[in-house]
Each structure stands twice: as C-alpha cells, then as structure tokens.
C-alpha cells in the first residue's frame, strides 16, 4: 500500500452509466486483482475500485454511476489531482492456470482486463465470458477480444448468448483448468457451486480499505477474512455465501 497523488488524464463515458478514468502518477508494481481507494472531493470515505489496467506511470479504472460519489466522479475534469491509496488487496494468482477461463459480470469485468493482459504477457490467451444485462450495459467487448477468445452473454439476449454468464459457461462448456471471476455476488456464488477450482474477486462496502476497521469481513472455511486485506480475491471453495 502506498499513498499517491494521481492526475486525471481521461474521464469518458463508455455507455449510459459506465465510465473510464485514466490517472497519471507513480503507479508501478500493481498486480491484477488489486484495487485502489480514491478520494472523491466532497466525500468523506475513499472509494474502492478494481484496477482495470496499469503501467509504471498510469492506471485505468472503469466505474459505474450508481450513487452520489460516482455521480460526482463523472463531473471530474482532466488535470484534477486526486489522492489515492494504491496496491491494496492480494491480487489474482496467475500461476494457478495454464488454460484459464475468465468470467466477468457487468462492472465486475474491470479487474479482469488487467488479468487477461498479464496472461497475454505470459503467452496465454484466456477463454473469456462477459455477461451483461443488455446491449445498453455492454462495454469493453472489443478490448477484451484483443486478449482472448470472447463469448458474450446478455440477460435479454440482445448480444450473444441469451442468459447469464454462468448459464453461458454451462452451455458452451469451455475447456479450462482454472477460472477467474468477478461480478455480482449471485454469479460468483453460482460459479463456486458448480466448480470450486477457481478464484473469485469480491466486492464490499468498505470503511478503510486497508484492514483496520473490519468493515468488510466475510466468513470463510478458514475463519473470518477481510475482503480488503486477505482478499479481494478468494479461492472459490473457501467463501461461505450467506443468503
């Protein structure tokens, strides 16, 4: 974890309510699956976002306008400087797989983009399933298509497979040895129920984002774990899903 000042270089809509923000600063050494805590001017708590992409001097987040904080983010301009804590969380374990299946749902596809890029750097082209509610919600399909073999599913059938991402996996039965997933909790729960050989990235309302407040603790087969500190990536078999 380190505290950095990041300068917005891009903040553009990708569809009706999903945005891409690129920030410049000292962002070296970030791992796929890690997240940052961003200070949005006028709001008390920092906000956690998965890292969608990063280099030594810039990072990208993809965010959805879902509340007052993210609505304020959409109005931020290029050149504005924001405080952030970066390098938070554990990150995906890429060594687990030679034939990865990457499954994303909605805004949860964000951290999977960096994951797919890192697999490419290892000479591996992953199988990718991207699930959206409908065509209005879809984004980043072309970007993912450059990194692997993409199958899209939509709940309304507008694009690709007619159904959710898990049903899409069940239908196509892609050949894989281990999966990596991020998306709505119900999607992760259903994936874990059909196969425990994978890693899932969890989301939570956080207080601090670095392990101090215990605001995001979940129950696992190994005991209580903090989504922000021991996670956000957990082995699919260890998470105890509460209804």
């Amino acid at each position: 974890m380190k505290e950095v000042s990041l300068t917005i270089t891009k903040n553009v809509p990708l569809n009706l309510d999903t945005y891409k923000m690129v920030l410049r600063g000292d962002t070296a050494g970030l791992k796929a699956g890690q997240f940052l805590e961003l200070t949005v001017p006028g709001f008390f708590l920092r906000r956690p976002f998965g890292i969608a992409d990063s280099t030594d001097n810039s990072l990208t987040i993809l965010y959805k306008n879902v509340g007052q904080g993210t609505a304020a983010m959409t109005t931020l301009k290029e050149g504005q400087v924001l405080s952030a804590l970066i390098g938070l969380g554990n990150g995906f374990n890429l060594k687990k797989s030679k034939k990865p299946l990457v499954i994303g749902g909605g805004i949860g596809i964000a951290p999977l983009y960096k994951l797919c890029k890192e697999f490419n750097a290892m000479g591996i082209k992953p199988q990718i399933v991207l699930g959206f509610r409908g065509s209005d919600d879809a984004f980043y399909i072309d970007e993912f298509a450059k990194l692997g073999n993409v199958t899209v599913s939509t709940d309304d059938g507008c694009i690709g497979f007619f159904g959710n991402a898990v049903e899409c996996v069940d239908f196509h039965l892609p050949d894989y040895d281990y999966y990596f997933a991020c998306g709505p909790l119900v999607m992760l729960k259903n994936l874990a129920a059909r196969d425990t050989q994978g890693e899932i990235s969890l989301e939570a309302r956080m207080g601090c984002g670095f392990g101090a407040c215990m605001g995001c603790s979940i129950q696992t087969t190994k005991g209580a774990r903090r989504v922000c500190k021991e996670g956000p990536i957990f082995s699919a078999g260890e998470v105890i899903f509460n209804d």
């Binding site: 974890m1 101090a212 407040c213 215990m214």
Partner: protein, 305 residues
C-alpha cells in the same frame, strides 16, 4: 523546547495521541506503513471473552462528515489477543498499550479483565460499556447509572490495572454517568464512543447497515464530543481521554483545553492510514503558534473561562 509529554495513571506518554479502539486493529498492521513507536500509546481493538465474528455486511455507511459503522465487536477472543496479538504487536511497538474489553454479561467483563492482569505490556484497561452495535451488553451497561456502577465496581475488584471507562454519548446526562463511574472506583474516563445513527438506501428504502443502525463517528461529532469532555471535566476529578472526530493537531489542543489529559484519534485513521502520525508531527508547530511550551499545562484551560 516544546514538551508534548503527558502523564496517565503515573505512566508518561511521549505525546497525548492514542489511536482509538476499533480503528487501529491490534496495531501491528500499521507498522507496515510507518514506525508506530511515535504513538503515545495504542488502544487495542475491543476484546471479548470468546471470539466474535460480529455483524453481517454491510457494516459501513458513509455520512457527509463521517461514517456509520456496525462491526459488532469482531475479535479473536481474549486468549488469542494475549497469546498472539500482543506478542505480535510487541515486535513493532515497544511502549505500553491500553486493552479494551467488551462483553454481554458482567461475568464476561470480569473474566476478560482478569486475564489482562498478566499482560505486562498493558498499562490500562478501557471498559467498553458504550458499544452501540451488539444486541446484549455493550451500551446497555453504559446508559444506566446503576448498571454501570455495579459493573465497574465488579471489574475493579478483580483488575490489577487502572480502569478507564469509555462512556456512550447516547444518554440524557453524561455527567451523571461519569459521576457513577467515579463513585464505582474508575481510574479514568474516556469519551465519547459513537452516536447511534442510520442511513437509508434511496433506491430500496432499506437501511444500509445490516443491523439497521450503527455508530456515527468522524469530524461531524467533534463539537458534541468536545462539549461532553468539557462537562465531564468540570464534574469529576479523574483524568479524561477525549475523543470524537479529532482530525488535526488543533483538534487535539481544543480537546485538552476542554479537560482531556490525552486524546484518541479514531475515524481519521480509516480515511488516512497516516493520520495519527501526521497529527503527532504537526503538534509541535501547532503548539508553537499558540505559544504553548508544555502541553500538559493546557489540560482544562477552558474550564474556568
């Protein structure tokens, strides 16, 4: 020469800054970020007799000038705290700490307090009778004078450590609670714990916090905390640790003017992991600007104004 030392229960602290219980874990994790030996002391996460997972998620809701939490006293239990967490903390922190204990019954508090008797690195025990986030015990002990008196007296009879009683602001008369604690033999008073609050999700009309309400903390509560420290300081002779929304070195001085002998920094640690460090580093300059040479001289300066 600027002197930031203060004395608490005969124990000299290099400065009055103590991260508040529940905002600093068991301390050692912050040593990844800075040398925590600069801290005056540390108040450990509330500890109960048995391990507790706490409340379901969500446990956190944001507010304009702070946050609501409903953790529910998640902790590994007193035996693990003494055998694992304290030794781990002692590897990165060489000073004495304040243990914080919670419970559902008087028996829980007594047994937990007794176990801390043997913990050498603990120089005081803070009695949490003000947690708003547990079904039984917690705040129920801290909102009734008679119940608080009996509990404190019972814990005092077994504990070999000075007992600091952490008061809840969710009472009609904070002074009578403080006097009850003093009469029961408390060695000090810390205040305030969080104010009971809630937020509702606009889209679903459901409370955001899983257990509906939680404890509100952050800079929004500072004026309330300051007022309560001031009122209690006027009424009791015990040392007071002030807390509630302290964000800056200036806030620390204000709390001490109101009668605090030391100051706990809580929620600030959660939005800025370096908050306690920054406050300590800025304290000498803030003192100099106000022509304060010896910090302990300002304790209660406003009480006669």
């Amino acid at each position: 020469m600027i002197d930031t030392k203060v004395v608490l229960f005969g124990h000299t602290l290099d400065n009055p800054i103590i991260p508040a219980s529940g905002t600093f874990g068991f301390g050692y994790e912050f040593s990844e970020y800075y040398d925590i030996n600069i801290l005056g002391s540390i108040a450990l996460k509330a500890t109960t007799l048995e391990p507790r997972f706490g409340n379901p998620l969500p446990r956190i809701a944001e507010c304009p000038a702070g946050m609501i939490n409903a953790i529910g006293l998640q902790n590994p239990g007193v035996d693990a705290v003494i055998n694992k967490e304290l030794p781990r903390l002692s590897r990165s922190y060489s000073k004495a700490v304040i243990a914080n204990i919670g419970g559902s019954t008087t028996e829980d508090y007594i047994k937990t307090a007794e176990k801390f008797n043997s913990a050498d690195s603990v120089f005081a025990v803070e009695l949490n009778i003000s947690c708003p986030n547990v079904k039984e015990g917690g705040m129920a002990f801290g909102t009734n004078e008679k119940t608080a008196y009996n509990l404190i007296k019972a814990v005092k009879s077994v504990s070999k450590k000075p007992i600091l009683v952490k008061l809840s602001p969710n009472v009609t008369d904070i002074v009578s609670m403080a006097l009850a604690a003093q009469d029961a033999g408390a060695d000090g008073i810390s205040l305030i714990n969080t104010l009971v609050g809630m937020r509702i999700d606009l889209k679903t009309a459901k409370p955001i916090i899983s257990v509906k309400t939680g404890g509100y903390s952050g800079p929004g509560v500072f004026p309330v905390a300051l007022r309560m420290v001031y009122q209690v300081a006027k009424a009791v002779t015990l040392p007071i640790i002030g807390m509630g929304g302290v964000m800056s070195a200036q806030d620390v001085i204000e709390m001490m003017y109101a009668g605090a002998s030391a100051v706990m920094v809580g929620t600030a640690n959660l939005i800025d992991p370096f908050a306690s460090k920054r406050i300590i580093e800025k304290l000498p300059a803030a003192m100099q600007e106000l022509k304060i040479n010896k910090l302990s001289n300002i304790i209660g300066r406003s009480l006669n104004e």
